[in-house]
């Protein structure tokens, strides 16, 4: 795989982690944010803190053997940990942050994810083999790109948060560079990997709705992305995915945002309740 071997320097990355600690932020300057902004920060906190869930999902699959990827993940988790701590510190004046409650279906999903899915995934993905790694890298890119966009928007919506969002941006850029690089290397020349990645992208959902459902996330998502100013960013994420997976028609973020329209309180969560996984 000489032509397509990854170029991202994992050794350099792990050597220089960026730990955004709460004491690096002027928290007082970020106090008294308007309620919708607090809601959006809270949503991001809740999404970012699923660090170990993601690690679990990757590590039970053949991805765990990829020492490059696990080396990256260890430092990624460390950086994510401090981002989460900083977000919590911003939220704390308004009370200790908590995850939104699970929806009815979400509670079932959580039980499934915690008790059954690791087993099912371990067996299923080990049968699929190393093509799974490529799909993981694409998902990693997509999740990171969406969260990075959310921070960018947050900084635009409330300039007081800019010191935070500006500090997070370069951290996310490195994560994106890693995923992009790995995805390119692993997708090139593997029809199976491309097929799996495509399926994963099609099924992708906005991060953090798996347990709480679309209703709980729709407020923050609207705060972050409803403004027409967010559109170029949304398009850029979709274009980035399309470029990764080698299919021009992929638009997972647009599709996922459509899910919030379908899942408006009036429409209920009909579609979501028909499938557990």
């Amino acid at each position: 795989m000489s032509a397509s071997s990854p170029a991202f320097d994992v050794r350099a990355y792990v050597r220089e982690p960026v730990d955004l600690r709460p004491d690096q932020l002027d928290l007082e300057a970020m106090a008294n944010l308007p309620a919708p902004v607090v809601g959006a920060v809270g949503h991001l906190w809740s999404v970012e803190r699923t660090i170990l869930d993601l690690m679990r999902d990757l590590l039970v699959t053949p991805t765990h053997a990829e020492a490059r990827v696990t080396a990256f993940l260890g430092t990624w988790a460390y950086e994510q940990f401090w981002i989460t701590e900083s977000l919590a510190a911003v939220l704390r004046p308004g009370g200790e942050p908590t995850d939104p409650p699970d929806s009815g279906v979400g509670a079932l999903r959580r039980m499934w994810d915690e008790r059954v899915r690791p087993t099912v995934d371990a067996v299923r993905t080990n049968l699929l083999g190393s093509d799974v790694v490529a799909a993981h890298m694409v998902t990693g890119w997509l999740n990171t790109a969406v969260v990075a966009l959310a921070y960018e928007r947050l900084g635009a919506i409330d300039p007081r948060l800019r010191p935070l969002t500006a500090a997070v941006a370069p951290i996310k850029s490195r994560h994106l560079a890693f995923y992009e690089d790995e995805a390119h290397a692993r997708l090139s020349g593997s029809a199976g990997a491309i097929r799996l990645a495509r399926r994963t992208v099609t099924r992708w959902q906005w991060p953090g709705v798996r347990y709480c459902g679309h209703d709980a996330a729709s407020g923050p998502v609207r705060t972050l992305l409803a403004d027409p100013a967010a559109r170029p960013g949304v398009r850029a994420v979709d274009a980035g995915v399309a470029a990764l997976t080698g299919q021009a028609d992929a638009a997972p973020l647009r599709v996922a945002l459509g899910g919030f329209v379908q899942h408006s309180p009036v429409g209920g969560t009909v579609r979501a309740s028909t499938r557990v996984q």
Partner: protein
């Protein structure tokens, strides 16, 4: 031994060696048997992420303090691997990511199915499984800490000794976490105590047994813990274990050495 998670996460750093004069190994290399032991320890450290994986499928995950610890712990252990890899590299022994991958792949289905076994077992046992995980972790961290201190003493190489002692100091903090957790979860819980006792006395093997050959395990244990001084360290570990609720009289680490014919 109290453990403060906020202090632990705040102070967690990668072990560093840049200030140490390790380049002397180029002229004055370590003996082959020590390199063999270092290689074994290096593999064990890098393999931590796979132990982490096996734990993440159990109810141990999900509690804030445990999650914070696991994140820092995994990274610290990774850097123990990097530090030892650097020492090995100075001896012309390269441990690359590709090689680590090849090793993990070679472990095959036994390794890939490990999280499945853990998940099923923990689903059956429920929350008491966490106590077993914690005491298991404590025993392994005690062993790691003792191993580094022994190797530092045996080799007597000044720069290496400093590096190994730095690693051992981090292992000691890992001990504090696991032992504190184990004590809390075992105290007053007869069922968890019985389970932990059963697990340790029937299933515990020296750290690295799952990934290295029997021959390697015996070499490493023999080099580090053979003889009177080594056995003293091992008895100290057994004494620590025996002090945890419901573990009176257990001598699993000494027993494992006896079983391998390593003289006291």
């Amino acid at each position: 031994m109290a453990f403060n998670i906020d202090r632990f996460t705040r102070d967690s750093v990668r072990v560093n060696w840049e200030d140490l004069d390790l380049d002397v190994f180029r002229e004055d290399p370590l003996p082959a048997e020590s390199l063999r032991t270092l290689r074994y320890m290096c593999d064990v450290e890098y393999h931590t992420v796979c132990y982490l994986r096996d734990m993440l499928v159990t109810p141990s995950r999900g509690e804030g303090e445990v999650n914070a610890f696991m994140t820092m712990w995994n990274r610290e252990e990774f850097w123990h691997g990097e530090a030892l890899a650097h020492v090995l590299d100075l001896h012309g022994i390269t441990v690359s990511y590709d090689e680590l991958k090849a090793k993990r792949v070679k472990l095959g289905w036994r390794d890939r199915i490990a999280p499945v076994k853990q998940a099923m077992l923990s689903n059956i046992i429920g929350k008491d499984f966490v106590a077993v995980h914690m005491i298991w972790g404590a025993v392994n961290e005690w062993s790691a800490s003792a191993a580094y201190k022994r190797l530092a003493a045996l080799e007597g190489h000044p720069a290496l000794a400093v590096l190994l002692k730095r690693i051992a100091a981090q292992e000691a903090r890992h001990v504090a976490f696991y032992a504190t957790q184990a004590r809390q979860r075992l105290e007053g819980n007869r069922k968890a105590q019985k389970l932990a006792r059963l697990a340790l006395s029937t299933a515990w093997r020296p750290v690295g047994s799952g990934i290295a050959s029997d021959e390697e395990v015996t070499h490493v244990m023999g080099q580090l813990f053979g003889g009177a001084d080594g056995r003293k360290e091992i008895r100290a570990i057994d004494a620590h274990i025996a002090k945890l609720p419901g573990m009176e009289g257990l001598t699993i680490v000494s027993d494992s050495l006896d079983a391998r014919g390593i003289s006291a």
